[in-house]
Amino acid sequence: MANEKKFVWTKKDLLGLEYLSGEEIEHILYTAGSFKEVTTRQIKKVPALRGKTVVNLFYEPSTRTRISFELAAKRLSADVINVAVESSSVRKGETLIDTGRNIEALKIDIIVVRHDCSGAPNILARSVKASVVNAGDGWHEHPTQALLDIFTLRSKLGRIDGLNVSIIGDIAHSRVARSNIWGLTKLGAKVTVCSPKMLIPEGIEEMGVKITHDVDDAIRNADAINVLRMQLERDTSAAFPKRIDFFKQYGISEERLKKCKPDIVVMHPGPINRGVEMSSGVADGQNSVILEQVTNGIAVRMAVLYLVAHAKR
């Protein structure tokens, strides 16, 4: 019949970029581009998920990601419910799987889940027929964040293939890093990770990345850098970098940025620790696309919700 571009999305869940092919990632990005147009209209709503229900099941507190998913769902005309679960190491009450089954009994179509345990969305996806979208699980993956990072990058530089992208920060504990590495390498980018030795996780080079502990080395030839949030509250061991030392050694300052390519793209998943990972000057400067990332996040999440809801299983 028609000579139309044929691609069928078959996955009911989005659990991570590790599980997607380059083609599938491209399809999400293409669809996100179409949805971006919707977000520029006066009436920012389309009926694509009308009558469907999306639950934001957040075991870890988060305002920004939750709002982003909520807006994305609402712009698709879906009904949205937010569930914030009290998280503690001594769990009382329902198990994750029981919660999932109860949600399913309410005929929910999509569960967007954020959890502090790696693999929780995978386990949930196995036990429910509803679609499960990973909004961040432990140290494992944060696929929609990486997708919006890549979407933003491509909209700025026109491509991903062949780009030098450096990810800077606490790689070991970062789900944003892992998802970005999967997505970028599958689309042909050359990825470098940069952090203090103790924050480079075992075997990361097997993901096809270069490793460096010198941030100037990492950013020198980079077309783009993704600066991760440094959670200094996390670890109190002596070896862990302290706030001031970290900025001196790894922080992106205006001086450091001057040594880079003039149109280098500076990204950050937010929220920024000003004066720790980067200076205010860089965060608000002309190379920064941090706010665009937030805007693009809606279009990307709309695309994801749309695709999983319509997956040909």
């Binding site: 994750l96 432990g138 892992r178 996780p201």
Partner: protein
């Protein structure tokens, strides 16, 4: 007088250097004779055509959960699983609730065993009071009450002076210490082997060094005290190397491994299946190869199951929250045949040594042999039988096995305990 005659089988009795087509005559619970073409009118015939007849398997490392966690397993259901797996003797670990760290509790467990057990259950007492690693129990009293060994399994003895005290008693009383070697400061809150797989999955890693460094320390202590020691569930190349070296320099160390350490690798955790979570964790391909090599060259003396039942409720949770452990009594023999005999790593005779002769010897329970006059604990094994290990077929009360729906090869078709076939 009950007489049984097992005919037409291949008798493998490594303790007495026997491997051939022979018949076995059992009378009044004891082995009367092992010869060619026995005729014994009045005896009940058991046809073992195409099968192997061997001393019944002995598991020197199982958790039967009674007293305290009868929801996970009981002596009854645990021994039922044992019989299905070809075992006539099981040594149960003391990390029960309360722990088996005094004669009174051992006595009460013996009563339960006398009433409920479908096979022999031998008791391993706790090495230290409350398994807390601070004060050794009274080995003399424990042995008198019937304990065949001691262990704090689940925990390591971190304090070297406490270990030395325990070793002293062990030597004096002739009660073997089975040591779980883990440096908790290195393993921390890890949930799987520290590796690239752990990095990919975003899970906290347990480094291999947390095992082999502790193994080296324990061996050193044993050497200094000139005392025998047994290393539980060896899983790493580093541990195998340390034990091999120690043995070659005359240290009285013995070791066991479990079937999952030569059947699965850390990559099996990729789907966050909590039935792949145990301690020590599944390791790398290199470690698996080293375990097989260690079994082959005798560095590892015993295959023990580390049967650790947990209910579905406990395991059906996030990987981080699931308890460590899998059941293993019913699959140990099949996996050993598939991974070791079929791959020509071990001969069948050598396998029977690891599963029966050696553990029996280490525990001093007088099993593992078909010598005339010995207790007739016998297993008949069909080495070619293929079957699907379904959840419904599991005899254990808990179903936490990573091998569910696997097609396994090699099955125990009958177990005789004290000369009596056990019908399930």
């Amino acid at each position: 007088m009950s007489k049984y005659l097992i005919k037409n089988g291949r008798v493998i009795d490594p303790a007495n250097n026997i491997d051939g087509s022979l018949d076995v005559l059992i009378s009044d619970g004891k082995i009367e004779k092992v010869e060619k073409d026995i005729s014994a009118p009045g005896s009940e015939i058991i046809d073992a055509k195409g099968c192997i007849v061997a001393p019944a398997l002995v598991d020197m490392h199982a958790h039967l959960r009674e007293p305290g966690r009868e929801d996970e397993e009981t002596v009854l259901t645990g021994t039922r699983a044992a019989i299905k797996g070809g075992f006539a003797s099981v040594a149960c670990m003391p990390n029960t609730e309360p722990p088996l760290d005094n004669p009174a509790i051992i006595r009460s467990l013996k009563e339960i065993i006398a009433k409920d057990a479908l096979c022999n259950v031998f008791i391993i007492g706790a090495t230290t009071e409350g398994r807390a690693g601070k004060r050794p129990t009274d080995f003399h009293k424990m042995k008198k009450e019937g304990a065949v060994a001691v262990s704090d399994d689940g925990s390591s003895i971190e304090d070297a002076s406490v270990m030395n005290e325990a070793l002293t008693q062990s030597k004096e009383e002739g009660l073997l210490i089975i040591e779980h070697c883990e440096d908790k400061k290195l393993s921390g809150s890890g949930v799987m082997n520290q590796s690239f797989t752990a990095t990919k999955l975003g899970l906290r890693g347990i480094p291999a060094s947390s095992e082999y460094e502790m193994v080296a320390r324990v061996i050193e202590s044993a050497k200094n005290m000139s005392c025998a020691i047994h290393i539980a569930h060896v899983s790493t190349k580093g541990s195998v190397d340390a034990i091999r070296k120690a043995k070659s320099s005359g240290v009285k160390v013995t070791a066991e491994t479990a079937p999952h350490y030569f059947s699965l690798t850390e990559e099996c955790c990729a789907t966050y299946d909590t039935n792949m979570k145990m301690n020590p964790p599944l390791r790398s391909k290199e470690d698996v190869a080293a375990i097989k090599e260690g079994l082959k060259d005798g560095t590892i003396d015993v295959i023990a199951t580390d049967h650790a039942p947990h209910t579905d409720n406990e395991k059906d949770v996030e990987f981080d929250y699931a308890p460590f452990g899998i059941i293993g009594l019913e699959t140990s023999l099949s996996l050993s045949i598939m991974e070791l005999v079929e791959t020509k790593t071990l001969s069948f005779s050598e396998l029977i040594k690891k599963l029966s002769v050696n553990p029996a010897k280490l525990l001093g329970i007088g099993r593992g042999t078909l010598k005339q006059g010995s207790c007739a604990d016998i297993v008949i094994i069909d080495p070619k039988k293929e079957y699907t290990y379904t959840k419904e077929s599991i005899g254990s009360k808990s179903k936490n096995s990573p091998f569910i729906n696997w097609i396994l090869k090699g099955k125990a078709t009958l177990v005789l305990v004290g000369g009596r076939p056990v019908k399930l």
